[in-house]
Symmetry: C2
Subunit: 197 residues, 2 copies
């Protein structure tokens, strides 16, 4: 038994190791056996926590996405900023996070992209969480009289769709373009102008 | 010699036949030999007009895209409509055309999508033509005092980018969603609001 196997096998330990395995082998090649081997346990022990490779892949993406939402949640719930400046900061922060993930963590980004194309429940929940944050910011601006929106959730989804070029992984190849930040600013400025009361 | 071969072999005849061949075999399987066989000529005769399979594929896409731009050009140059109503009609017409092409002409749509992913010159020219039309509409609104834009070409590109979900072939799978038209209207309304003087 390896020294690692002496520690209790928690879901958190399995997910940390899965992240490492995904980084080493990539999303298509990494297997549950690779994860079990890296942990020094049998693959049956891993399956007791995650019933399939798909479940494990979803859980690791969920954890990775949850970390990226923390900063966005801080911006959303900041009591000291106006809705307009929060909206701008939120969109900038989302784009920066996606850009860095695509560049610095390409294997987990690829895993996320695969799940996105499969319409996975984990990704759907992530996208709902993001548009819910946008809704809260817009509702705050409407309540303060600085923003206007007849249907707040629909407007939040419209802002999210209109900025897809700057967070949808399908566009990741464009994020290294020298004009991408100017393009982002032009779209954001137009949307904020459209939201002002 | 087949009866078809008796007619002069014009580029137009080659392109019409290539469209038919693409519809029958799809963009990956269709070859120049298939086109030549359908025309009843040698493949050398086709190569005299189009030096490679790639050149033929680009020319047929160019012709197909040019047809789709005619209606958009009519909207753009309509002297009787306001810039705002032209902008709305132009975005609706572009989305309708893409949706119908994806649904009714999937093989040529797939050819276009392949060229788009290859950053082909033909597709770049098509996208430039579309944003130029948007620029003309926005400039007209600015001149009339109904729209506001500091940098008209940059604003036209922003409108085009913000509506990518409704014309970028990467999203074709979403165009059959029951909520897609509502989503389109929400994004368009927000952008037009942002453009008003």
């Amino acid at each position: 038994m390896s020294p690692a196997a002496a520690e209790p096998l928690t879901p958190e330990r399995i997910l940390e190791t899965t992240e490492e395995v995904l980084r080493r082998f990539g999303p298509t090649k990494a297997t549950v056996v690779d994860v079990a081997r890296a942990l020094g346990v049998s693959h049956g022990s891993v399956y007791r926590h995650f019933p399939s490779k798909a479940a494990l892949r979803e859980a690791v993406t969920d954890r990775w996405l949850a970390k990226s939402v923390v900063v966005l949640e801080e911006i959303t719930s900041d009591p000291g900023a106006s809705a307009e400046s929060k909206l701008e900061a939120w969109l900038e922060s989302l784009f920066a996070a996606k850009r860095h993930k695509a560049g610095d963590d390409p294997e987990l980004f690829a895993t996320y992209t695969v799940l996105l194309s499969e319409h996975s429940g984990v990704v759907d929940a992530h996208l709902t969480e993001l548009t819910d944050q946008l809704s809260r910011i817009i509702a705050e601006g409407v309540a303060a009289g600085s923003l206007a929106a007849e249907d707040v959730p629909a407007t939040a989804r419209a802002v999210f769709h209109a900025t897809g070029r700057f967070h949808d992984p399908q566009y990741a190849a464009d994020w290294v373009s020298p004009t991408i930040l100017t393009e982002f600013e032009a779209v954001t400025a137009l949307l904020i102008r459209g939201l002002r009361a």
